[in-house]
């Protein structure tokens, strides 16, 4: 009987000690807030376009931190999905809806002589990048435009175009060199085409 008693007491004692330890740890090391959301928000492209189904990038970041899919951001493209996968340590999945992988950066452009000054695009712009007053022609501040195309749809006269950002001498950059295996096919005399970094 003694042995059993001792065993029970020992176990109870251990349970008590460890229980206290656990209780203390759960109070002491509680994590406040969710630092993950900020990190995710930092990766998202901040176009605030709402294509993910959330009103803005931060809500989507919050949704991701709560387990939503990471492939709902067409403006970010596959690279954003990969960055998110990297951050969250999950598998990178292809973009939802089979959207182009690396989207071309665009800015909105208002064909000004067609603009009727309805201010609808101004209200639609999430970053206040459109200037204009009622019955005055509007214009897009190009440097502020995130290319979210939220202003296109509200325009009653369809005078907003999404134009790709043009490359200038200053923004031009080299392409990634082609890996060796791909080069073999093209490595024929005279067949190297322009821009093929050899």
């Amino acid at each position: 009987m003694d042995i059993i008693l001792i065993a029970v007491i020992a176990l109870l004692g251990l349970a008590l000690v460890f229980g206290l330890l656990l209780g203390f740890a759960s109070v002491r090391f509680r994590v406040e807030g969710n630092p993950l959301v900020d990190q995710i928000d930092g990766i998202l492209p901040q176009t605030q376009c709402g294509q993910c189904g959330y009103p803005g990038c931060r809500p989507y970041a919050e949704a991701i931190s709560e387990g939503d899919a990471i492939n709902k951001c067409p403006p970010g493209g596959q690279s954003t999905v990969e960055a998110l996968a990297d951050l969250l340590d999950v598998e990178a999945i292809p973009l939802e809806g089979g959207v182009e992988e690396e989207p071309v950066k665009k800015v909105a452009y208002i064909r000004e002589d067609e603009c009727i000054g309805c201010t609808k695009c101004i209200q639609a712009c999430p970053v206040d990048a459109i200037l204009g007053a009622a019955k005055q022609m509007h214009t897009v501040i190009e440097s502020e435009c995130t290319g979210c195309d939220l202003c296109v749809e509200p325009c009653p006269v369809d005078c907003i175009d999404m134009l790709p950002i043009e490359t200038t001498l200053n923004t031009w950059k080299w392409d990634m060199p082609k890996p060796g295996v791909d080069l073999i096919v093209t490595d024929l005399r005279g067949e190297l085409k322009q821009g093929d970094a050899a």
């Binding site: 990297d86 951050l87 340590d89 295996v181 073999i184 190297l192 085409k193 093929d196 970094a197 050899a198």
Partner: protein, 353 residues
């Protein structure tokens, strides 16, 4: 002709991976010749057999991986791997051992990791270690050098045809016994209670046969010097490794000459020279920077001595190299060179999540 637009530089030095590999193959030739001279045709047959297998496996796996065959076969890397494995194997090792070894080296250790340049471990040494672990009997029966066979100094080795038959399994293995014996390292390791001096005088392979091992090591050394001269690799790794081994063994030898072999023995016995110049210098699996190479070499030297002295196997080059291969990326992180214009070198790896 339409002008092309390409990125600089527009000049290129006329040297390629296959050139490098060819140089390595050339540099092993003296060693191969010495092995054949002293230990018989076995090594040569092994090497050729391994090379054939390697090219076969390489071709098959490249095909399976849907890569251009000619382009990748031309880089000679499979041949070099097979060559090194063939040199490391005992001369009379059965054909299927070589087959398993080459398979492991080319398919498992190299291509399963992504092919040339991607493998973290030296393929030849992976294969060697695997064979050593799996087939201890076959892997430890070394041929005795010719000086110990028959009478006097005549060149008495097993004939080519017999060797061929032996390796490919159609010759009674009893003959083998007359031609096999322990290696010097074996002798030193399994000496019972004898002191070093006693072992030297009592075991024939040490008393009379050690010269053959010296000669083979010298041949490898020559090949290595040739490669350093041709700037295939730098002196850092082999020098660090040999000096470490020498210094360590000297220390122990000085403290207790009765129980520890002299440094010259350690440098010339077993696969030390082969390892120093042909295995440890394998660029793919070693450290990158000069500083890193020195650390890498020191590590190998120390490990060789430790395993030889206190480990379970008589020779230790393969294990030492593999262990340091494992450490190479880590070494790389902490041995970045100090770049121009920086006060000190950066450490570690930033940007890891």
């Amino acid at each position: 002709m339409a002008l092309i637009r390409t990125s600089s530089p527009h000049l290129h030095k006329a040297s390629s991976t296959s050139d490098v590999m060819r140089l390595v193959v050339m540099a092993t030739l003296p060693g191969l010749a010495a092995m054949t001279f002293f230990f018989g045709w076995g090594t040569l047959i092994n090497v050729v057999w391994a090379c054939l297998l390697a090219v076969g496996f390489e071709a098959t796996i490249i095909k399976i991986r849907k890569r251009p065959l000619g382009f990748y076969l031309k880089d000679y890397s499979a041949v070099v791997t097979a060559l090194l494995l063939g040199l490391a194997l005992p001369p009379f090792v059965p054909w299927w051992v070589t087959l398993v070894g080459v398979f492991v080296a080319i398919v498992v250790a190299k291509h399963l990791y992504g092919g040339l340049g991607q493998n973290p471990f030296n393929p030849a040494m992976v294969a060697y270690a695997l064979l050593l672990v799996s087939f201890p009997v076959q892997m430890t029966s070394w041929t005795a050098p010719f000086v110990l066979n028959g009478e006097g100094d005549s060149w008495n080795i097993l004939g080519f045809v017999d060797t061929f038959k032996l390796i490919f399994g159609s010759l009674d293995s009893a003959i083998v016994d007359t031609y096999t014996g322990a290696t010097p390292l074996d002798a030193m390791r399994h000496r019972g209670g004898l002191t070093t001096e006693e072992v030297w005088s009592s075991v024939p392979v040490l008393a009379d046969g050690i010269g053959a091992w010296h000669a083979v090591s010298a041949a490898y050394f020559m090949g290595g010097v040739f490669l350093i001269y041709r700037k295939v690799f730098t002196i850092h790794t082999p020098a660090a490794m040999l000096i470490t081994l020498a210094v360590t063994s000297t220390l122990f030898y000085l403290v207790d000459p009765y129980n520890y072999a002299d440094p010259f023995f350690h440098l010339t016995a077993g696969a030390t020279m082969l390892g120093a110049f042909f295995i440890a210098t394998d660029p793919v699996t070693s450290a990158t920077s000069n500083k890193g190479k020195v650390v890498f070499g020191i590590g190998i030297g120390l490990l060789i001595y430790i395993i030889r002295g206190w480990g379970g196997y008589p020779d230790a080059v393969a294990f030492a190299v593999l262990l340091m291969n494992l450490a190479a990326p880590f070494i790389d992180q902490y041995t970045q060179p100090r770049s121009y214009g920086h006060a000190k070198a950066k450490r570690g790896l930033k940007g890891e999540v």
